[in-house]
Symmetry: C2
Subunit: 202 residues, 2 copies
DNA sequence: GTCTATAGGTGGATAGAC
DNA sequence: GTCTATCCACCTATAGAC
């Protein structure tokens, strides 16, 4: 199983670089010329692999979503407690930010009005998948009395997705990952049942 | 006081439209041609008022920041309680979102890496001004036992700015302002001392 | 202050040779 | 699968007439 020639497929290298460019500069902030320069190939070659920028963009979101799903599955496997799962989830965002990047779909949410329809749908699907996973973890944590929150778990999940995306966005402008960490820690602390209650209240 | 001729200044109309374009499409998602078409003038005329796009962008941020400062001053004048001030603050964001827009500086935070230096500095200054105002309101609210939160008010202020920006960003993608409202209500409820405690705990 | 005209560059995308 | 060469639309920006 696997094609005939090339290895470390050009298409894969294109996706890798294009992903970084979208995460740092936005979908309207880079061009095929940027990718061509970075990979030492011609623009025409890129169009062979990804005929249009819209198709490249769609593939990027699908790939990002797939990798995210794998990461969430790994968390489910590694961690038993809801609190630990949430911390790992936040860790994914922190890793992206520490690489000087914004979440791919957070970035595309800003570009949303300029995106072709297939990309738009893929972006909202990404957020929904995150919300579903988070809501399940939150429900579990509340059932096991590890987490405490009022109302629908989906609402809290939406708060977490929105808040983490925004915290990333602003923190990256300041070039201060610590801004993100402080916000994320606070969001998690508000959900945990006991320990932070005593540690932080002033 | 006021110049010689034209009225409802062209420069002002340019700023008005350019602001909307940045808030909906991002700084790299519109061109002088878009403005020229929208205002029925030529691109050359636009360059008379704003020689470069970078200068136009900077003016937009300064103007937005000034208007925001005026709005915050109006809140300070109208509302005495910290809780009411926070609700009004959230209302500003909600109003922007209901106009189908993203916060100007939230949008520019996404475009950050592609912005000229003067615009970058202006964007972070905007966030800092918001954080300062919020921190003061939070301190006041805690001192008057109207609000409850642990640790530095500045940290909570940063959480609010980041979370509201992100909630806006995601909600706009879904075209559901209700997503923003639900998150904002939850953020405020977590800060209020009594009433939500009884209303929401399930 | 607004226009016509245009410069000089870059955008995404294609044709066709190798 | 990658190249050269090219198209054409669009970009920001300027010169100079009115």
């Amino acid at each position: 199983m696997s094609g005939p020639a090339t290895r470390t497929d050009t298409a894969e290298r294109v996706l890798e670089l294009a992903e970084r460019l979208v995460q740092t500069r936005g979908f309207n902030g880079f061009s095929y010329a940027d990718i061509a320069k970075g990979l030492q190939v011609t623009k025409a070659s890129l169009h062979y692999h990804f005929p249009t920028k819209a198709e490249l963009g769609l593939r990027l979101i699908e790939r990002y979503g797939d990798n995210f799903a794998l990461a969430l599955a790994a968390i489910d496997e590694d961690e038993a407690s809801a609190a630990a799962r949430l911390r790992r989830y936040v860790g994914i965002y922190a890793g992206v930010l520490n690489a000087g990047r914004m979440c791919l779909c957070g970035m595309l949410a800003a570009d949303y009005m300029t995106l072709p329809e297939p990309m738009r749908t893929a972006v909202t699907h990404f957020f929904e998948a995150n919300e579903r996973w988070l809501a399940a973890v939150l429900e579990q944590g509340r059932a096991e009395a590890e987490l405490r929150f009022a109302g629908d778990a989906v609402e809290v999940a939406r708060l977490l997705v929105g808040s983490l995306e925004g915290a990333m966005l602003v923190a990256r402008s300041f070039g201060e990952a610590s801004r993100f960490e402080a916000i994320a820690d606070r969001l998690l602390a508000d959900l945990l049942v006991a320990e932070p209650e005593r540690a932080l209240v002033g």
